[in-house]
Amino acid sequence: MALLEVSDLRVRFDTDDGLVKAVDGLSFSVDRNRTLGIVGESGSGKSVTSLAIMGLHRNTGSTTVSGEIRLDGEDLVEASPERVRRLRGEKMAMIFQDPLTALNPYHTVGAQIIEAYRVHNDVSKREARKRAIDMLGRVGIPQPSSRVDDYPHQFSGGMRQRAMIAMALSCDPGLLIADEPTTALDVTVQAQILDLIVDLQAEFGSAVIIITHDLGVVAEVADEVLVMYAGREVETGAAREVFGAPRHPYTWGLLGSMPRLDVARTERLVPIPGTPPSLINVPPGCPFHPRCAYPAQAAAPCDSEVPALLETGPGHLAACHLPAAKKQSIWAELSARTAPSRARHAKTGPAAPGSVSEVNPW
């Protein structure tokens, strides 16, 4: 059994405008030492999923969470809020997008780590402080024993995110959720933070979920990828499978709209037409069909029949009505058109096993 198993997760908000189906039947699992990347546009339900796992969604009467979230076998959906609170920080931790606003400006960085450590560990302040200094050192903050008394505004952006990571990992949680951990950072710092997460994962053996819209990030660190659209999963599988041989038009769109360094500047990016659908009135059938270029070639009516998540390769699932052969040929054509190097990938199929970062995401 995996450390975190989510099955048929549904999160709904009852608003004045109607019922928002923010997450609509999501299933996935992550094990220790593995990294799952959840990818999708804004409003696809990525962050809601992570907040629901942490029990941090607005706990008002208008929000309903159903399905199962099993952490170490324990169902978090059924558990009492008090029980989930105790698990938060101890068994599962989270780091957020903007470390400046996520850290409390009124308390020192050390005090905030000490606080996180002492909620779950019955230790003296002195011991907790030692732990905080130790953690700050491990995330690569120089002179941790003096920086521990600094306030967040005295840290640089990258250091703040390091401090957030130190705080999240202070109780050695089995599960680390990183919600857009590099989005608010300088490009040069982004890589450092990702490396740090990868290194610390190896050290602590945690399961990591990285939520992002940046495919480069996912390609660099994720073992598995889950592509979300309109609160549902549209494609999932091993990272090199999903990026090397994507089997869903939405994934093609995501990959096509990403800038690359190895293609001439004259090449235009191909955006996905249209906008993400309203989660109150999700289009019937396949939610992506109004923006999809290929409904005509599908094997079933895309605008009425919801495509099931079917296996298209070993451990690789996609929810699309296009026939398998069609998908292969469309992808081959797409990748050949914009990048000769990618066509090579497509022909050889899944890349040889190797470090994840070798996989070219497009």
């Binding site: 609170r85 938060r88 957020f96 400006p105 009124y106």
Partner: protein, 336 residues
């Protein structure tokens, strides 16, 4: 931190000098701009149907015939070093801080103000404790129980508190608690040095009346601040750590929400120390507010100058204290 405080104190003194110049300018220059000369000005202080000689004598005695800058110099010198008034046998020493003598009553201004100050201070300080504790507590609870009966009820009361003027609530309080039920009969100011018990029992109604207005304001401000703070990212982080909600609210929420309240509190208290005009009038307390009103009614320039300087001193002082406190409370201000 020390340089920060020293810098603030220097600013405070400079600010007070500017205030004194402006006030002096307003009260001494404007009658002249309006076409009144020093002779006509002096005529106001001599009594009915004065002789020309008497007016001239008064003009010389008050120094009204001297150039403005000289008069201002005298005024400043009196405050800093004290000075002599009159001449010959009537010559008297007015020690610092000397705000001169009342044009009307010939009494020195400073001791009069010092008599009125304890009344206003008792009123302002007592009420401020009440409204700060009450207003913030109600505001926080309202924010946490947003939309409940408690929230609606307290915010409704707060709306009433903000809208009802003190001379109304004060009269109602007097009517009910003093005349009808006789819980606090015959409200009048009793100095604390005379009897702590009577000082206190006579203060209750004015305190509550004054505090009600401010508490209502503070409850609404605190509620708004708290609602905003509880939506901040760092509150989500605090929850993500697994902190109990009680600690999330107090250690992370309240701390940030209360900081802006501190600024307003300092300003309000400083303002009130210069005279709580409405409350003092409603309850007939001989405080600085009453003193100010009399000074203005009498066109008694030294008294007006004195009370304006004292009031602005309190406001500037409160501002400085708030700035220094702010640096203590908010680490981001310290380095700035």
């Amino acid at each position: 931190m020390t340089t920060f405080i020293i810098r603030r104190l220097i600013t405070m003194v400079l600010l007070l000098i500017v205030v004194s110049m402006v006030t002096f300018g307003i009260f001494f220059l404007i009658p002249r701009l309006a076409g009144q000369n020093s002779y006509e000005l002096a005529a106001q202080y001599v009594g009915r149907n004065p002789t020309k000689a008497a007016i001239m004598q008064m003009e010389a005695k008050l120094g009204l015939n001297q150039p403005l800058i000289v008069q201002y110099g005298h005024f400043l010198k009196g405050i800093v070093a004290g000075q002599y008034y009159n001449s010959g046998t009537a010559r008297t020493w007015c020690g610092p801080p000397c705000f001169g003598y009342s044009f009307r009553t010939q009494q020195p201004v400073w001791p009069q103000m010092m008599n009125a100050l304890p009344v206003t201070a008792s009123l302002a300080i007592g009420a401020s404790v009440l409204w700060l504790v009450g207003g913030v507590a109600v505001g926080v609870l309202s924010a946490l129980k947003r939309g409940t009966v408690f929230d609606r009820l307290s915010m409704g009361t707060a709306l009433a508190g903000v809208s009802l003027p003190i001379f109304f609530t004060g009269q109602v309080a007097l009517l009910l608690f003093s005349y009808k039920w006789q819980i606090f009969p015959n409200v009048q100011y009793v100095p604390i040095t005379e009897s702590v018990q009577y000082w206190f029992s006579n203060m209750v109604l004015p305190w509550v009346t004054l505090a009600f207005l401010y508490a209502a304001l503070y409850a609404r401000l605190t509620r708004a601040g708290m609602l905003e703070t509880m939506g901040e990212d760092f509150i989500r982080t605090a929850r993500a750590k697994g902190l109990p909600e009680r600690i999330v609210v107090t250690r992370h929420g309240l701390r940030a929400a209360v900081t802006p309240i501190l600024t307003i509190f300092g300003m309000d208290l400083g303002l009130l120390l210069g005279g709580a005009v409405l409350t003092e009038t409603t309850f007939s307390f001989p405080g600085l507010g009453q003193f100010t009103i009399q000074a203005i009614n009498n066109q008694d320039l030294p008294e007006i100058m004195g009370v304006v300087m004292l009031a602005s001193f309190f406001i500037v002082l409160a501002n400085t204290v708030v700035d220094i406190l702010y640096a203590v409370v908010d680490p981001r201000v310290r380095t700035a």
